[in-house]
């Protein structure tokens, strides 16, 4: 199994690259006078940043465990971080469903973007730890 360091690096390489794409897209959209679409990209950027913070939190949790082997730590780290991909978007999904029900398009497009990024990161993380 890969070490925490390797997993984290591979994940952050992907996340940072996607976040950079988002930042560039925000600039392009702003230059094209597409302010609302730029704001939707900002929502996505924010999700990349949230999960970057969370991966650091998962790492910190297991690194403090003295009675674990490196492999156990890596497993615990993966389980902990993977859990966030289910826990964090719960409310986004609820909000999405509610917004859809009430035809609040602005809200459901925002939530849809958040869920899209969370799913994308989850899939990427799954590939990394396979």
């Amino acid at each position: 199994m890969k070490t925490i360091e390797v997993i984290k690096k591979e994940y952050l390489d992907f996340s940072t690259e996607e976040a950079e794409k988002c930042k560039k897209q925000i600039q392009v959209l702003k230059q094209e006078d597409k302010e609302d679409e730029a704001n939707l990209e900002k929502v996505k950027l924010n999700i990349y940043e949230i999960f970057e913070t969370l991966i650091a939190a998962s790492e910190k949790k297991v690194l403090n465990q003295k009675n674990m082997t490196e492999e156990e730590k890596a497993t615990a780290f993966c389980e902990d971080f993977f859990g966030y991909f289910d826990k964090i978007p719960i409310n986004w999904r609820i909000n999405y469903e509610k917004a859809k029900e009430y035809n609040d398009v602005t809200q459901y497009v925002t939530e849809e973007n958040k869920l899209f990024v969370a799913e994308q990161l989850k899939n990427q993380f799954s590939c990394i730890i396979k």
């Binding site: 006078d33 597409k34 302010e35 609302d36 679409e37 939707l40 398009v105 602005t106 497009v109 849809e112």
Partner: protein, 194 residues
Amino acid sequence: MKVDNVKLFKCLGDKSRLSILSNLINEPMYVELLAERLNLTPSTVSFHLKKMEEAGLVHSKKEQYYMIYEIDQQLLNMSLMDFVHQENSEEKKQREREEEYRNKVIGNFFQYGKLKSIPVQRKKARIVYEEILKAFEPNRKYTEREVNIIIADYHDDFCTIRRDMISENLLEREGNIYWVKGNNNKSSLQYYLL
């Protein structure tokens, strides 16, 4: 037709929405087709259409399985001048509010054509003086005695009122001669807002 001009123009200040509108001017369309044409996701197109619908620019109707969007022909045929005129109706409302306030002050301070007391508040005093000014003929010269007699019909303290009307630029004087100052068109509230 009631249009929120600010909302409308904010809505139009977006390139994607202008592109959507440009497509809808040609023919009514559904979200997926617009998305394909403009290389946007259907969600993004829905997002823009919702904003445009709220601004009154487009309407939607269900046709079989699709929600078809079409432009509001009447709104899009309006000229910029029409929108500016609509804004002027706001000024009209403001004038009505001023007039209402003015009538209230006059009602409170005048009774049977007499001034009950000189208002302490300058804004109200000006309204009262403007009302007294109506007793003066424009383009006519008055002696101080004539001015005093006219004002005394309203209130005994004609000296204070006469002086105040000069300082409020309602009357003008030169020596012993008084006349109504030209261009007293500004209402009291406008005067104090300046």
